[in-house]
């Protein structure tokens, strides 16, 4: 797949717990078809699932755009929603504004954003309260951790 660039977009609906995980599962299947190493697929799957779940659990609607270039998988999860008032607080393990009902389903552990950070080589959050959030992450296909230190 040298020099090739693949880009795909998946819509995600807020509150739609029934379809939750569909986008992450499609992304995983594409990477599998491309013959990408399992270690990489695993990390993309973890981060994509959590990004998708955050749109489902916290936002009104959004899209997940995946780009696969020769060096990396880049995922952008963009939503219309409440935004994140304090990103540092949201990044803390265990912090969650999820409702009791969502917690009973096993979501809302406050581990999503920290898990995305751990699973990826680069993660950025752009957000505006009352407008929405754009979370972008990158996973290098070379899995050369030194490269990620810049």
């Amino acid at each position: 797949m040298d020099g090739q660039l693949i880009q795909m977009e998946f819509p995600v609906k807020g509150g739609n717990f029934g379809g939750a995980g569909d986008a992450a599962s499609k992304i995983k299947n594409i990477l599998k078809q491309l013959g990408i190493r399992y270690e990489i697929i695993k990390r993309v799957a973890i981060a994509s699932y959590e990004a998708e779940m955050n749109i489902v659990a916290h936002a009104a609607e959004g899209t997940i755009v995946v780009e696969i270039n020769p060096n990396a998988v880049v995922v952008a999860a963009k939503d219309k929603g409440p935004g994140i008032p304090d990103i540092d607080l949201a990044m803390k393990e265990g912090f969650s504004t999820a409702s009791q009902q969502i917690r009973e389903m096993g979501f809302g552990a406050g581990m999503g954003l920290p898990n995305i950070k751990k699973a990826t080589d680069d993660m950025t959050i752009k957000t505006e309260v009352g407008v929405g959030t754009e979370l972008t992450f990158k996973i290098f296909l070379t899995d050369n951790r030194e490269e990620t230190l810049k």
């Binding site: 995980g21 799957a45 973890i46 389903m105 096993g106 552990a109 581990m111 898990n115 699973a119």
Partner: protein, 117 residues
């Protein structure tokens, strides 16, 4: 241990059958928190949980698990079973608590992700 042997020896209920009953299972994972499972459960494991809603199917499929074991005699919803069958995800059940079924599987040689089998 093969998945089919785990099912037979522990008299597990089969809510949705496995496509690979002869797969070797080396690991198990126990958790009801989906973020924890997504981050830490391994491939080809069996997952013990009390969660019965349909989101467990997406999690098991994403992690390439061998199967889900719903503990404590809880039953998955019809929606969960239908989705599991359509995605080929194995869903099992036991009357045992999470502790007891995990103990039984550990005694038959399965380990957690942090120990080699």
């Amino acid at each position: 241990m093969k998945l089919s042997e785990i099912i037979a020896e522990n008299e597990l209920t089969v809510f949705s059958p496995s496509k690979q009953p002869e797969v070797e299972i080396a690991h198990g994972y126990v958790s009801d928190m989906l973020s924890d499972v997504i981050a830490n459960a391994g491939k080809d494991c069996v997952w013990m949980t009390m969660q019965t809603h349909s989101n467990v199917i997406a999690v098991a499929a994403l992690k390439d698990m061998a199967g889900i074991i719903i503990v404590g005699g809880h039953k998955p919803s019809d929606e969960t079973i239908t989705l599991a069958k359509s995605k080929g995800v194995c869903v099992l059940g036991t009357k045992h608590t999470a502790f007891d079924i995990t103990g039984r599987l550990f005694a038959s040689g399965l380990k957690g992700e942090t120990m080699s089998p």
